[in-house]
Symmetry: C2
Subunit: 562 residues, 2 copies
Amino acid sequence: MAGEDRVLANGAKFIDFQTDPSRYRHWKLDVAGDVATLSMDVDEDGGLFEGYQLKLNSYDLGVDIELADAVQRLRFEHPDVKVVVLRSAKNRVFCAGANIRMLAGATHAHKVNFCKFTNETRNGMEDSSENSGQRYITVVNGTAAGGGYELALATDHIILADDGSSSVALPEVPLLAVLPGTGGLTRVVDKRKVRRDHADFFCTIEEGIKGKRAAQWRLVDELAPNSKLEARISERAKQFAETSARKTDGKGVALTPLKRTVDDKSLRYGFVTVDIDRTARIATVSVQAPDKAPPSDIDGMIAQGASFWPLQVAREIDDAILHLRINELEIALLVFKSHGDPAQVLAYDAFLDANKSHWLVNEIRHYWKRVLKRIDVTSRTLVTLVEPGSCFVGTLAELVFAADRSYMLIGSREGDNRPPPALQLTALNFGPYPMSHGLTRLESRFQADPSDVERARGRIGEALDAEQAEELGLVTFALDDIDWDDEIRVFLEERASFSPDSLTGMEANLRFVGPETMESKIFARLTAWQNWIFQRPNAVGEEGALRRYGSGQKPKFDMTRV
Amino acid sequence: MAGEDRVLANGAKFIDFQTDPSRYRHWKLDVAGDVATLSMDVDEDGGLFEGYQLKLNSYDLGVDIELADAVQRLRFEHPDVKVVVLRSAKNRVFCAGANIRMLAGATHAHKVNFCKFTNETRNGMEDSSENSGQRYITVVNGTAAGGGYELALATDHIILADDGSSSVALPEVPLLAVLPGTGGLTRVVDKRKVRRDHADFFCTIEEGIKGKRAAQWRLVDELAPNSKLEARISERAKQFAETSARKTDGKGVALTPLKRTVDDKSLRYGFVTVDIDRTARIATVSVQAPDKAPPSDIDGMIAQGASFWPLQVAREIDDAILHLRINELEIALLVFKSHGDPAQVLAYDAFLDANKSHWLVNEIRHYWKRVLKRIDVTSRTLVTLVEPGSCFVGTLAELVFAADRSYMLIGSREGDNRPPPALQLTALNFGPYPMSHGLTRLESRFQADPSDVERARGRIGEALDAEQAEELGLVTFALDDIDWDDEIRVFLEERASFSPDSLTGMEANLRFVGPETMESKIFARLTAWQNWIFQRPNAVGEEGALRRYGSGQKPKFDMTRV
């Protein structure tokens, strides 16, 4: 399903993004007081696909799924943790980066999706540091090459062992004829602000840089001799913990396993359902409103734990999007729908807004932000249909604004006794869920006239019918019952007939209007260049560098500069 | 030379970027007072290559070379012109965009370079409006499709005939499975601030949008019925001329033909020489200092006209870079050298700085800015060697800062009695030549610590030797005579052996640090996506949309979403 050349290991039928520490094969998570240690110890025989070994702490998507899980659990399950020390449990190697044999045998689509997910994981680490006060320290004791160094780049502080051999490197260009795939080029110059000519030198040498030059050129934050390494780590961890902004009450929420059934036609969770129509190439993602009022207070929320509606729905949508992205490559469109009582969604939004200073509410709001960002960078056409019985209110209305297009029914449908649909805005549409380029979806939408954002804000709490929503610019088209079926059908059919590549490029460009941030640059500029290079014969052809790596044969390049 | 499948028309041996109005085949330039009219009237049989006809005002690189020439001459030769009206001389069509048969038969490298140049031409129009007060008005009387509408998007004001059939369209995605190639997506949402869901609709319909909706959705600035069209154009031209910031003395400078000889091994101009080493895949671009002091005043400069050193050198470098980009695709590295008396370069910089309020000096400074920007986006490794006898001073020092790497010799060379090289900064390194993302090259270089820019500014006018320049962070490496030859040779050889694609992607990412502007987004994000799509089989394969266009056969797509 996920690769032409590759078969999933252990008879797995699809790539599963759900895991937990008891099942980790590649990472070990130890918590001691306010410091967690996340140790990378990749199981060579634990590859996601058959046909390669994960030597030297190299990784594939399966390794990164565990990392993403650990980063997420640290935020929700470990409120006391203020510092995460990331290190290798292997000798003389921190991490060799993405596994090259895996890359060489993977389809273009798998490579691109693999990089997208690993980027999201690393952005998630930075988000954790910025918004949850869990700061990351990397200990490079051995070699950190390619994706290994890129992992370090996503942390707040890099300590390099000053032992004459430990080094950091981005050898992709000279060794593999591809780019560092997880934000490395951007983070080197934009985050670490390495001078561009130094970066040019660094990114074109296979052997990397060690010792004093690594620190002078800002590639690492500090050096420590082996004899003092452990003491230095403790010292830095203590210092970072003391300055952490993390303030919690110490009671974590267990991210219990999602209840999910997967078959060929659907994914079913508690509040989210995905129906797959392979002929039409459409996956319909339906979100159900809460079936009861929010808890009366914080203790009630904590008692509900992972079944607290906003948290459960965020986890379910997140899993569904990830599943569709990588396991359902021929699906052209994601159609979002919602069902249930808008008043309940509104009540949960009010709860999230009233209690935003509580650490767990803060986590849930930031998680929703990340889930919505994941949707924004999903390379499928996103459509939201606002129909009778729907509850696109506040947080769920972001699914309307994230869509490439939205359609809203005017009035009701013949033979349907549910009330006409209404959109409702809440405070949560005006700040807490920015896109990766820093603007809210409404700010992005109303670039032409920012006063339109204020106009919309003035209507918070009103149930807006289709004509009002259209007039306010909140939906693309308001249609009446007579036109609805035909218009939607023609649109969906036509869209599914277009070249998926051109749609991906078009949507990626139209969705992100205006400013750029490091994060958006990584997803936009860097990812696009990499997609290009990832399918050039110089990289992936029979004589290309990825295929020939380790074969003893040098790659043969077409030397045309493009 | 430029295409595998294509042969240049009329027996041309290379693509020539030099032209003048007497040789135009596709455009007509009429000047009446302060309004110029630039009429597009593409000669069907005037294609740059054999094998296609330029129907319906569709264009190829040859058409755009003439447009770029006209835009440039308007700035230098027509100081009185404050408004340029861009329109079609054909009936019922404004411009059908890039010629599809040309695209279908062009190599990937040609398509990418074609788009790069057309982007530069359109950015140049916007630069003209912003910095020379020559404002552009487009009259769309007929259909403006694809590149045709993108041309309109690069102007300040679009008047659409309200005749029931004139329309604007970006039909690339539905029709050709590629993206609009000249900034269209970015300009629609970032410049014209069309709402992203409206843009989604607009970019996925073949037929485009006409009349009232085009204006309501901000795709055009105004509508005019045919009966009032000419009056409206005059009215707008008058209004734009009245508010133009262009202040000149009315004496233009003729851009006389460049003196140039081209053979298989070199390009020779008055002050610029390019030596081509095909085995090493290196083109060495040498710039000669002025051979005499600058004129004593503005009148002296005007008397010199196109032979005024800064103007002549800018034109020569510009032509050389364009030539190398498109005619020498296997050249991996551009090595910049300079020769001559640094004091003379300094004197010209002082002249340009002292007289910056004069319109012609303003033009020359902005032209240098554009030439340097062209270098920044050139997909070749840029290296600058600062050797004895060189004159990398002020404006020419930008060639050091534009380079991916620079090397400077410490002291002198054995057997070379020229003085040791010295770098010198002038005021022109600190503002007038920003890169496309808005920062100067020194600001880009010193992102880590902006005080380094101030430190460099404090040394304006000092002759800095290699060790001083290295200490100030102005060059990558200072090497002494013993190491020079070997280090440079090994670097050049190794660099030329790398995959050109990965170098292109790496350099494009490392050169542009920090912020983005619409212009840099077009070159970075949009171009990269387009490069990717331009080589996907869905576009260029035997069954792809570009190849099958007009054949009566529908394209066949691989529906995998990536």
